[in-house]
């Protein structure tokens, strides 16, 4: 075999570089909330934190365990839930587990009412004078009362939040907050100032239901917002609240990915394919190296 000449080396390097670029382009996405999205509006960092806790991802609720020390996280759900799924959830809660529902849409009220809780999500433009960024929707919320997940957190920063009615308030906005009904981001004559609950908890059977009215606090851009990283600490508190962490990926927007990514990530995650890939690379490298040595 002939020696590989230098232009061929360079060309090969450029082709490899292009392949790597294409691979990284396809293994990421810009879909909102997606766990494969490393941009500001993805949840890749949040899922890295989850991965460190050896979490289990489920797509069907039949797989929910029945022992009483698990926490089920439902981040940004999108579709509707079937009756049997809700029945499983009720069973899960009554076993003494924690369910954390993170959503700002009113469709999820279906779940909270089916679980027998009086927490209701109100989709609205919550605005406040207490804001972190110079944008009216960047509302700061403060802990209200004692709760394990609000321990050690001075405040969290929200991003276009909704608010909650009912339940026991865990995080509330300040008194200088209002719902911007006419959309002009200023306090109007019809809009009243009051505290709004953004995170609430309720007891269902033996278990606890937490509802967080703003999934945007877990996106990459917001996870480190605010002095003292309040959002990251909240995420940490939730993830480490129970020894077993279960994440629902069947209905969640964080599982969004185009098909190509699923394939790529299948490769990334499966150990066997990784080993196979490394073996192939070594073979190719040896093919390139050996003739050169033979020549000299």
């Amino acid at each position: 075999m002939p020696i590989i000449s230098r232009p061929a080396w360079i060309a090969a390097f450029l082709v490899l570089f292009g392949l790597i670029a294409m691979l990284s382009h396809f293994s990421g996405t810009t879909l909102d909330y997606s766990r494969y999205n490393p941009e500001w509006n993805g949840t890749s960092r949040f899922f890295e934190m989850i991965g460190e806790q050896d979490a289990v991802t489920i797509t069907r609720f039949e797989d929910l365990p029945s022992h009483g020390d698990a926490l089920l996280l439902m981040p940004a759900p999108e579709d509707e839930y079937r009756e049997d799924e809700i029945a499983h959830l009720v069973e899960f809660l009554e076993g003494g587990n924690i369910l954390v529902l993170v959503s700002d849409r009113e469709d999820e009220n279906q779940i909270t009412s089916a679980l027998g809780s009086d927490i209701r999500i109100q989709h609205a433009n919550l605005t406040s004078i207490d804001r972190y960024f110079d944008h009216p929707s960047s509302v700061i919320a403060f802990p209200a009362g004692d709760d394990p997940i609000s321990a050690g957190i001075p405040h969290i920063v929200l991003n276009r939040p909704s608010y909650l009615l009912g339940g026991v308030p865990v995080f509330e906005s300040s008194l200088l907050s209002w719902v911007d009904a006419d959309g002009d981001s200023r306090l109007g004559s019809e809009e009243t100032l009051q505290r709004y609950t953004v995170i609430a908890r309720d007891s269902v059977g033996e278990g606890t239901l937490y509802v967080i009215a703003d999934p945007s606090i877990f996106i990459n851009g917001m996870l480190v917002a605010g002095p003292g990283d309040g959002n990251a600490r909240l995420a940490d508190n939730i993830i480490t609240a129970r020894p077993f962490l279960i994440v629902d990926q069947g209905h969640s927007r964080t599982a969004y990915a185009p098909e190509m990514i699923r394939v790529v990530n299948l490769f990334k995650e499966s150990t066997i394919t990784k080993m196979a890939l490394i073996t192939v690379i070594f073979l190719a490298a040896s093919l390139l190296v050996i003739p050169w040595r033979r020549k000299s």
Partner: protein
């Protein structure tokens, strides 16, 4: 021949470096890219050509660089007008 390949690889490497930093900084600006490219090719052509003669493969490059300088003048004018109109 070696010098020619070296020049091309250096230019390609420089351009890729600039693009890489732009991607990392999440800001893609054509004007900055153009200015950095012009600087790169100017330096490379200067280093490669001899004091006595310009290699054949670089003779037309000097025209490219000259037109690049004119375009640079246009960019400078634009930036000045942008600052003035603020």
């Amino acid at each position: 021949m070696m010098k020619k390949h070296l020049a091309i690889s250096a230019l390609a490497g420089w351009v890729l470096l600039v693009i890489g930093f732009m991607v990392l900084a999440r800001t893609l600006d054509l004007e900055i890219f153009f200015v950095l490219w012009l600087i790169g090719i100017l330096i490379i052509v200067e280093l490669v050509s001899d004091h006595a003669a310009t290699p054949r493969y670089l003779r037309s490059q000097r025209l490219v660089i000259a037109s690049g300088v004119i375009l640079f003048g246009v960019i400078v004018a634009r930036k000045i007008l942008e600052i003035l109109s603020k």
